[in-house]
């Protein structure tokens, strides 16, 4: 079975630009979460979507937005990029079954903002 897939794997942008990152969850998983991981730090929660509805939002500015599609895939959009947005962006999917919300992560998109 395919795991969580993310695209692109690497991306280089300049300050002020916009970026869209994509994620396909494991088949059968209805929840997708996005995390930002700065080098040397743990992942920081950005968003969670379940059945196309936003279920949670972390402490990130409004420049960050996301959505989930009917096939449960998801996009993360970041506007007006700043140097500090350079990070590994991780997508995770989960079953959300019986209260056990075990996260399965993709390999991430490495975003560099110059």
């Amino acid at each position: 079975d395919a795991g969580v897939t993310q695209s692109p794997t690497h991306l280089i942008k300049t300050r002020g630009q916009h970026v869209t990152l994509r994620c396909s969850p494991i088949s059968g998983h209805k929840s997708v979460s996005w995390y930002q991981q700065v080098l040397g730090q743990g992942p920081q929660f950005i968003f969670q979507y379940y059945e196309k509805e936003e279920r949670g939002r972390g402490n990130f500015p409004d420049r960050f937005s996301a959505r989930q599609f009917p096939n449960y895939s998801s996009e993360l959009n970041v506007n007006a990029l700043l140097l500090g947005d350079s990070a590994l962006y991780l997508c995770a999917s989960s079953l959300v079954q019986g209260g056990d919300e075990k996260l399965f992560f993709g390999s991430g998109t490495q975003l560099s903002v110059l």
Binding site: G40, G42, P43, L90, G108
Partner: protein, 107 residues
């Protein structure tokens, strides 16, 4: 404030030298304590979930334990392939991750 703290930040072990990693948490309404392994340039890989104090889980050379304020990841007779960053995450109203322990096992 909900937070997770891991120690040490980095650990170097000789092959076969057992040790423990610590994860301290203050998270309201804890629903689970998770351990993940992360290799460079990769996403975290799930290892264990613990739900209640006193619970223990094992997988090969790894054993995770949970108390009301801490979790430990015990590594017995580690091998070089165990070298990775180990992340702890506490699940309350969202997942709160620690900064990880970078483990290096020297042959």
């Amino acid at each position: 404030e909900d937070q997770v703290t891991q120690s040490p930040e980095a650990l170097r072990l000789q092959e076969g030298e057992s040790s423990s990693l610590n994860c301290s948490y203050t998270v309201s309404g804890l629903r689970g304590l998770f351990w993940y392994r992360q290799d460079p340039g990769k996403g975290p890989e799930f290892l264990f979930t613990l739900y209640s104090a006193g619970e223990e889980k094992e997988k090969e050379r790894l054993k995770a334990t949970l108390t009301k304020k801490e979790s430990f990841l015990h590594i017995t007779a580690p091998k070089p392939e165990d070298s990775a960053t180990y992340l702890c995450a506490a699940y309350g109203n969202q997942f709160y991750f620690g900064t990880g322990t970078s483990l290096t096992v020297i042959p």
